[in-house]
Each structure stands twice: as structure tokens, then as C-alpha cells.
């Protein structure tokens, strides 16, 4: 089976949250970029499928500025992905426009054999959750987001997965090629071994240059402001002598002060 995983470099959890000098985006000066969250699960799921179906190949693709994008591609290689493709992005792109990202990634994915394109359900920073279906649309493949319990039936060559709705869990089956946004992998993401980390540092990355991409309309959605909420000042403590007194006080506050009592 030919699997492509698309991942996005996101600033790690220790990145200090503050606006960049222009006030438009998160200040990424000095930030460390990592493979994280749903993307990490997508890579894990791809590797689980590779383990389950002998002869499979997992290719990882990422779109973004070179330095940080290389980091996540190497992290994915260290985990066991077979090849990595860096899709160059325009130097000033905020890549807030999902069309641009989807089209750039689609251009790279089209060059690779693929039965399954796996993406995290949403990125760890902007959390928009649109890319899986946008990418599917750009590729002309069926696409679903929020997939769980993904399996591959090798005899029928069918992917089976759950897709959550408000009322329950839909069961779907789909032959490849298909794009899936993954809610959860079959197990916790593995940790790369030291030797594989060192090997991944020396691996050659494939590149798709700007010249090979369709014109990207970066003006469509642009970042205008990045704001932090006023710091929460800590809880207002409810003082009480009996549980009943605590309950009465809390209900009154929710009603009269916070005005959220139903």
C-alpha cells in the first residue's frame, strides 16, 4: 500500500505566546517547530498500516518555510517514514489560506503514488480542521475528516473507518485513493529511536519548488491580528460552612453575576 502523510510544523508547547512585532501572528522568533498532536497520530497510523500490510511505503509531505519544515520531515523519517518531500512556500506566505495549502500539497501528492493520504484532523496551531477535505477536493479524491478506527482490508482493498456525527458513529468503507483526516491513531504515537534520529539527520529530502506549484492566492485569507486573552486572575473562591451554603452561593453567582444559569 502506498501511503502519503501530510504534516505541518507547529511551534512546540513551550513556545511563549506573544504577538509578533507586527501584531499579526504568533511571535515565532526562536520557536522550536515539532511534529505534534493530530499530525503525530497521522504518522503513527500510517506506520501501523505499514506494519500491518507488508510491502507498504509511507511518504511524508510538508509545506512551509524550509528550516522548520525540514525539522518535522526529519522527525517523521526518524519515526519510520520512508521518504520525505518538502514543498516550498512563498517566503512571506502566512499560509492562512487553506486553498493555497491544499493546492500546494496536492501538487506534491500527485507526483507520489498513493492509495491513502493521511492528514491530522486539525493542525496544532490554527486548528481550522479544513485541510483534509480541501486537499481531497484539490486532488479529486473522496475525503473525510475525523476518522477513527481506520483499518485496511487487503483482500477487498478497502479502507474502513468510523466518522463521528452528532447522533453517533457512521461506518464507512472506501477504496483508495482516499484522503482521511485522522481523529485518533490505533495507539499512542511511538518515540523515535536515537539511531533513527541520527540517520534521519543525514537523509536527503525531496523538494517541490515554487516554480512547480500552481499560483497560490496567498491574499485570500490573511492574518490581521494575534491577540492574547486578558490573563485570568484566578478563581473567585466560594467560602462556606456547609455544602448547602456553597451550592446556594454558587447558584446565585452564576445567576446574578456571571448570568449563565439556564
Amino acid at each position: 500500500m502506498e501511503i502519503v502523510v501530510c504534516v505541518k510544523p507547529v511551534p512546540d508547547a513551550e513556545t511563549k505566546l506573544r504577538p509578533a512585532p507586527d501584531g499579526r501572528t504568533l511571535d515565532l522568533e526562536g520557536a522550536k517547530f515539532v511534529l505534534a498532536g493530530y499530525d503525530e497520530s497521522a504518522v503513527e497510523q500510517a506506520l501501523l498500516l505499514k506494519d500491518a500490510v507488508p510491502g507498504s511505503t509511507v511518504r511524508v509531505v510538508s509545506f512551509g518555510p524550509p528550516g522548520r519544515t525540514e525539522e518535522v520531515l526529519r522527525a517523521a523519517l526518524a519515526l519510520g517514514c520512508d521518504t520525505a518531500t518538502l514543498v516550498e512556500s512563498p517566503p512571506l506566505a502566512h499560509s492562512a489560506d487553506v486553498r493555497s495549502v491544499a493546492r500546494a500539497l496536492a501538487a506534491a501528492v500527485k507526483k507520489l503514488p498513493h492509495d491513502l493520504v493521511l492528514v491530522g484532523k486539525q493542525s496544532g496551531d490554527s486548528e481550522a480542521g479544513m485541510l483534509p477535505t480541501a486537499l481531497a477536493q484539490a486532488l479529486g479524491h473522496p475525503g473525510f475528516n475525523g476518522a477513527v478506527e481506520l483499518k485496511f482490508d487487503p483482500t477487498q482493498k478497502l479502507f474502513t473507518f468510523g466518522r463521528a456525527s452528532e447522533a453517533g458513529l457512521e461506518r464507512w468503507e472506501c477504496p483508495g485513493p482516499v484522503v482521511l483526516g485522522l481523529q485518533q491513531a490505533g495507539n499512542d504515537p511511538r518515540t523515535a529511536k536515537l539511531q533513527n534520529i541520527l540517520k534521519s539527520r543525514r537523509a536527503t529530502l525531496d523538494k517541490v519548488s515554487l516554480a512547480e506549484l500552481p499560483t497560490l492566492d496567498v491574499a485570500g485569507a490573511t492574518a490581521e491580528a494575534f491577540q492574547l486573552p486578558p490573563p485570568r486572575t484566578g478563581a473567585k473562591w466560594i467560602e462556606y460552612k456547609t455544602p448547602e451554603e456553597a451550592a446556594t452561593k454558587l447558584v446565585r453567582l452564576l445567576k446574578e453575576e456571571a448570568k449563565v444559569f439556564p
Binding site: A138, V178, E224, F226, G234, A258
Partner: protein, 326 residues
């Protein structure tokens, strides 16, 4: 400058998803006095009534049962047909799981700028300015969606739904039959959520969530009783779902659901960052915990320190009393 806006209603068995009604409010802002049409695919008669009285100027209905499968290759062409008929420049959806799936596909298919989880919307001459929580609700990002077309999925509980009007807007049937699926994939089964009597966790306006502080699965009913009294959805911390007290669908946090209700009550949850990023954008947070040093209190608006086995029954009784007396 006014513009036509199309609202995509998301049906559920008992009518419309609440955020679809709220989407009408956002659409009215975006329209600046222009027409706000609705499109409803595969909804029940109750949904048609609710939507047509919910503040739209017109409603397009595709009543074929096949829409219930929620196939993107059926929905997107139907939505685009409605957008074309209404000459809409903006499409507004509810930022539910399915709403985001549609938004992504529409962005490419309709060649539009798009945003999800939108909590604020301001039309300007330079485009729609929208705000949404990012980084687990720890920050807000503002984007400008430059024309000519924009897709906006709005976060549940961010916009107040318009009052129901006594008079229904004109309802028209989408002329064409539902588009034939062009892509592979088959829905082969459905497992209804077990006894989903409460509201949906992702879009509920009140959530009561329980954590390890409850000590044992048999104590979880204390949380469920409070939720029932409040008409709230029930959530849980990862410790609870990992231990198997509750299924994974209850989990609030980084690897579970993100929620942003009006009121979030955290019971016996210490407040690991994993959990906090899934609920920090809630409007009002109440924490009930035996440990005054628990990190949850740093982000809570109201804190009650004490024995939750005594506090919860008292609170449930008080809530019942307060609601009964109006």
C-alpha cells in the same frame, strides 16, 4: 455595502443543530442588510419549520433522504447550486465536525477564502474580518477573508440565534435531484450514541465534566445528575476515559473534544494542560476540587474547594430548586 449570504443548515433528528440557528445571526451581520437565504439538505419537517422561522429571508430545501448520508460529493454541488441561485458571496455554516468538512471542500470547490471556529465577524470594504480561538483557546487569531467569495463556519455559542419569527420565510425546493455521488466511498453502518439524552458535548451551552477526583466509576453519576439538572452535556478528563470509566467520546482536551460552552463546571479535575486546551475558551469556568493548589483554579472564574461527594449532591439539589422556581 450589502451582499447576499447563504446559510447551510445542519439537520439533526429533532430539528436543526443549534449552531445552524446561530449561523443565521452571523450571516445577517455579513449580509449588511442583504438577503440571507438558507439551504437545508435532508432535514425533517421540524427542521424546515425551525429554519424558515429562524431569521432567513428564504429557504431552499433538498428533501431527498440520501442527504442524510452526509456525502460531501452530494452536499457541495447542492450548496453551490443554492449559492448560485441566490447569488451569494458568503456561505455560513456551523463549525461542527461536518461543517468543517464542508468548509474545506467548499473553499477549494468554490475558490473561496475560508475560516472555521469563527467567534466574531465584521464586514468591511476590504473583506470579512473574522476572529477565532487558536492554540487550544489560549489566543485569538483575526483573519481577513478577501473576496470575492468567503466561507465562514461559526463556533457554537458564539453568536446569539435570532428570535424565532411568527412568520415562516418562503420555502422553495431545490429544483435538481440530489447530485449523483461522483466519488468512491460507502456508508455501511451507523452506531447511534448510547442513550444520548443530553445535549451534544461539542455544541452544548453548559458542560459538566468529571475527573479522577471522583475516585471510582460508580461515583460518576454525581456528575451526570448535576448535568441533567442543568440541561448540560457530560464530559470527562482523559484520566477518566483512559481508565475506561467513560467512553473516549466523553473526553475533553487536546486528544478529545474542544468545547467552548457558556458555562463549564470541572469536577475533580486537576487541570493538566492537556485538558485545559480543550476547554479554556469556555466563557465561565467553575472548578470544584479538594486540592486548592490544583491548576484548574488558575483559569477558573469560581472555585469551590472541598469534598465533592458532599458538594455535588448539594449543588444538584440547589440547581433543581432554582430552576423549578424559575
Amino acid at each position: 455595502m450589502s451582499r447576499s449570504v447563504l446559510v447551510v443548515g445542519e439537520p439533526r433528528p429533532t430539528g436543526l443543530v443549534p449552531a445552524s440557528r446561530e449561523a443565521v445571526a452571523a450571516a445577517r451581520l455579513a449580509a449588511e442588510g442583504g438577503a440571507v437565504a438558507g439551504v437545508l439538505l435532508g432535514g425533517s419537517p421540524e427542521a424546515v419549520t425551525e429554519f424558515s422561522r429562524g431569521g432567513v429571508t428564504g429557504l431552499w430545501v433538498g428533501s431527498d433522504a440520501s442527504y442524510a448520508e452526509r456525502r460531501i460529493d452530494r452536499w457541495v454541488p447542492a450548496i453551490l447550486a443554492a449559492a448560485k441561485s441566490t447569488e451569494s458571496e458568503v456561505i455560513v455554516l456551523a463549525s461542527t465536525g461536518f461543517g468543517r468538512e464542508l468548509a474545506g471542500a467548499l473553499a477549494v470547490a468554490w475558490d473561496a477564502a475560508a475560516a472555521t471556529s469563527v467567534t466574531e465577524l465584521t464586514p468591511t470594504d476590504e473583506g470579512l474580518f473574522v476572529a477565532m480561538p487558536v492554540l487550544g483557546g489560549r489566543a485569538t487569531s483575526k483573519l481577513r477573508l478577501a473576496g470575492p467569495r468567503a466561507v465562514v463556519a461559526i463556533r457554537p455559542n458564539a453568536f446569539g440565534a435570532p428570535a424565532m419569527s411568527g412568520e415562516a420565510a418562503p420555502v422553495e425546493s431545490l429544483s435538481a435531484a440530489p447530485p449523483t455521488p461522483t466519488l468512491a466511498g460507502r456508508r455501511v453502518g451507523f452506531e447511534a450514541n448510547a442513550a444520548s439524552q443530553g445535549p451534544d458535548l461539542s455544541s452544548a451551552s453548559i458542560v459538566v465534566a468529571g475527573g479522577r477526583g471522583l475516585r471510582a466509576p460508580e461515583n460518576f453519576h454525581l456528575v451526570e445528575e448535576l448535568a441533567e439538572a442543568l440541561g448540560a452535556a457530560v464530559g470527562a478528563s482523559r484520566a477518566v476515559t483512559d481508565a475506561g470509566w467513560k467512553p473516549g467520546t466523553y473526553q475533553v482536551g487536546q486528544t478529545g473534544r474542544s468545547v467552548s460552552p457558556q458555562l463549564y463546571i470541572a469536577v475533580g479535575i486537576s487541570g493538566a494542560i492537556q485538558h485545559l486546551v480543550g476547554m479554556m475558551s469556555s466563557r465561565v469556568i467553575v472548578a470544584i476540587n479538594s486540592d486548592p493548589g490544583a491548576p484548574i483554579f488558575k483559569i477558573a472564574d469560581y472555585g469551590v474547594v472541598g469534598d465533592l461527594f458532599l458538594l455535588l449532591p448539594a449543588l444538584t439539589a440547589e440547581v433543581r430548586k432554582a430552576r423549578a422556581s424559575g
